[in-house]
Structure formats: C-alpha cells, structure tokens
C-alpha cells in the first residue's frame, strides 16, 4: 500500500497525492493504480497534484508513464492542479511531458473525462 488513496467515482479513478512520495512509493502507486484501472474498468484517471510543492523528475516521468499505460487500457489520464512554480521547474528541467493531459481543477478534469453526450455513446456493459 503506497498510502495514496484511490477513489472510484462514476467510472473515473480519482487520486489525490497528498504528500511528497519517495521513489519506492511512486512505483508502488503506479502499479496499484494501473491494476485498479483494470479492476474497475475505469473510463479515466484523474490525478490531483495541487498539494505538491515539488514534483521531481521521477514523479513527472511516472505521471507520463501512467498516462501511456492507461491509454493502452482505453482509459484517459488527466493531471490537475499543477502549481505555477512546479510547472516552470518541470519545463526548465526539460520535462514538458508531451501527450499528458492536464486541467486546472478537479472539476474541469472531470468534465474532460465525462463521456461525450450524443447518440454515439456506447453502452457500458
């Protein structure tokens, strides 16, 4: 148990990282989350990092990996609430994380992940 609570909410896994994680915990968290995606057949993953003052290169890399892994399982990952200082630092480090979806707030992230309305919507089993 990595100590990161994962809440399943209406087909979306909501994760709030509440404190700086050690590399070991980050790896465990990644594994736990990806297993949970399969288990809950989640449509999307929302990772809230608004509490974090520091996101190191390893965590940034892991966030990127999670997005890539979940997309293989047909789930989208959105990282929300990154602070300005964290964002600048990551960019300065050259970690622009292309392909990672981001949103300003949990609310907006949820609306990003909400199933598109309209007749094209497929029924979930």
């Amino acid at each position: 148990m990595a100590g990161v609570p994962i809440v399943s909410l209406n087909g979306v896994l909501l994760v709030t990282i509440q404190e700086e994680l050690l590399d070991q915990s980050v790896a465990e968290f990644e594994q736990e989350l990806t297993e949970k995606v399969v288990e809950t057949r989640a449509r999307g993953v929302l990772i809230d990092v608004s509490v974090l003052d520091i996101i190191d290169s390893f965590l940034a890399r892991t966030l990127h990996d999670i997005a890539a892994i979940t997309s293989l399982m047909a789930a989208r990952t959105v990282v929300v609430g990154m602070r300005p200082a964290v964002a600048i630092t990551l960019v300065e480090l050259g970690l622009t994380l292309p392909g990672l979806e981001t949103a300003l707030s949990v609310e907006e992230g949820l609306s990003l992940l909400s199933p598109a309305p309209g007749p094209a919507r497929t029924a979930r089993p």
Binding site: V79, V80, G81, M82, R83, P84, V86, A87, I88, L90, V91, E92, T96, L97, P98, L100, T102, A103, L104, S105, E108, G109
Partner: protein
C-alpha cells in the same frame, strides 16, 4: 617632513577646528551650499556643525584624504539627505561641487589668522584636502542614492510593465510592450501563471505586438511559458508576432510548433473564445447589445 610633524599638524589643526568651531559654523551656515539645501538658518547651522564634526574627526584621525574614514562615513547619511533635498532642483551638479569648494575660504581665512608661520602651509593643505574629500563623499553619496532610486524604479517598472488582463471569463491576456530582457520575461511568466491559477483561466494570450525584437532567450522563455501553462491545464496563445520577429525565430531554429499562434490579438481572442465553446458574430438585425 617627518611623521612627528605630520602628527603635530594633525593635532594643531584639529585643536584649531575645536577652538574656532562656532566661527566656522556661522560662516558655513551662511554659505550657498548649506543655504540652498536647508529650510531655515537653524537647520543650516545644525547641518554645518555636524559636517564640521565629521571633518574634524577625520582630520584628528589623520585621514583627511581618505573618503572611507570614520568621520566621513558618519556624514554619509546626512549628505545623502542633503543631496536628495537638492533633487527637487537639479540634483548634485557641478555647481554643488563648486559650492562645497566655497567652504574652504572661511576655513582658510580663520586658519591664516591663527596659525604659526611654520605650520601655515601644511595646515592649509590639510584643510583643503579635507574639504575636497568631503566633496568626494557628497558626490559618492548622491551617486549611491541615485543608484538605489534607479534599482527601485526598475523593479516597479517591471511590475507595471507586465499587467495581466482578464479579457473574458477564463481568458487572460498579457500584452508585452517594449524590449524584453530575461528579468522582465520571467516576471511576465510568473504573473501570468499565477493569474491562470487564481482565476482558473483556460486560455492565456501572450501578446507581443509591442515588442520590437525577440532574441533566442526571450523566444525560449515564451515557449517555456506556454509549456508551463499547458502543464497547469491551460492553453497559451502567442499573438502579434511581427514578420521580422517570425523571420528571426525561424532563422534561430525556434519551433513554436506546439504553441498556438495568431497574427493579431483579436484573432487570438476569437481563438480563445472558440476554445471555450463560445462564438462571436454579428446578428442579422444589426448590433444587439445585451
């Protein structure tokens, strides 16, 4: 001349300054330098007494020619204040320097009346040297004060020159004007990202219509700002890139591929509204102000 007689002159001159203190202060307070900065004669007398104390201390320490002497250091804050009072007129100028030089005459006159023939010239040299050093300290203090003012103003300018404007709910703009250096672009980046977070803006427009030239570093900075905004979950649009700047960027090999760019601020706003799912158009019935 031996060291012993140097010390002797030092003692004699500082004794002279002590003995003639009141006469000197009276003369100095009437001089054009103290008169021009002081508000009344009492203040002029107080200021000149304090200057005399500092000069005497420097002379007594045998450091009449050293602007870093304790006696002169004591005077720096007073002289800075005096110099700042001159600011209202024309500041410390060549004329001020001449006025300080005028302080020599009363000193030398009194010295001439007092001194022994043997000590007359070396003592006069010492007094003139002390006043010259005083003048140097005044100019130094004024320069230091001006430097501080400049630094403060530069800081205020960089704050003033990067306003973040809310154009619409969820749309911010930061119109950049003038030459961008690394400090200014950093301030712009920080205030823009901070505003994105506090106002939860989805689109931020970086308008560089008013920027005449862009060098590699500034272009990189714009790019980094856009990337950081994207990491936060907002989108950055750069507008107002002039043809010459676009040309420079291409030649420098700067790729803005991942950042949306628009020719004019108006186009960027239209793009931003489109991203928010809004649309602006003229209604067929003419202008309709809701």
């Amino acid at each position: 001349m031996t060291t012993t007689s140097d010390r002797q002159i030092t003692t004699v001159v500082s004794d002279f300054l002590d003995a003639q203190k009141d006469a000197i202060v009276a003369q100095w307070a009437g001089s054009s330098f103290f008169r021009s900065v002081a508000q009344d004669s009492d203040q002029a007398a107080g200021d000149s007494a304090e200057v005399l104390r500092g000069v005497r201390r420097a002379i007594a320490a045998g450091q009449a020619d050293n602007p870093g002497a304790d006696g002169f250091n004591d005077l720096r804050s007073l002289l800075t204040a005096l110099a700042s009072q001159l600011d209202g007129n024309e500041g410390v100028s060549a004329r001020t320097a001449v006025e300080v030089s005028e302080l020599k005459q009363p000193l030398l006159r009194l010295w001439q009346e007092q001194a022994d023939a043997e000590l007359l010239t070396p003592g006069a040299v010492m007094l003139v040297g002390a006043v010259d050093t005083l003048r140097l300290v005044l100019v130094e203090s004024a320069l230091a004060a001006a430097r501080d003012t400049l630094a403060i103003q530069r800081e205020q300018l960089s704050e003033l020159s990067t306003p973040v404007i809310k154009l619409w709910d969820g749309v911010l703009a930061i119109p950049l004007i003038g030459t961008l250096d690394s400090m200014r672009s950093q301030v712009a980046t920080e205030s823009l990202l901070q505003a994105i977070m506090t106002q939860q803006a989805k689109v931020a427009i970086l308008d560089i219509t008013g920027v005449p030239t862009v060098d590699t570093m500034v272009a990189q900075h714009l790019l980094k700002t856009a990337m950081a905004a994207r990491l936060m979950g907002a989108e950055c649009v750069i507008s107002g890139i002039r043809p010459q700047i676009a040309n420079t960027m291409v030649q420098l090999g700067i790729d803005l591929g991942e950042v949306a760019t628009r020719a004019r601020l108006a186009d960027a706003l239209a793009y931003a509204l489109h991203r928010l799912g809004l649309q602006v158009g003229s209604s067929p019935a003419g202008p309709d102000v809701r």
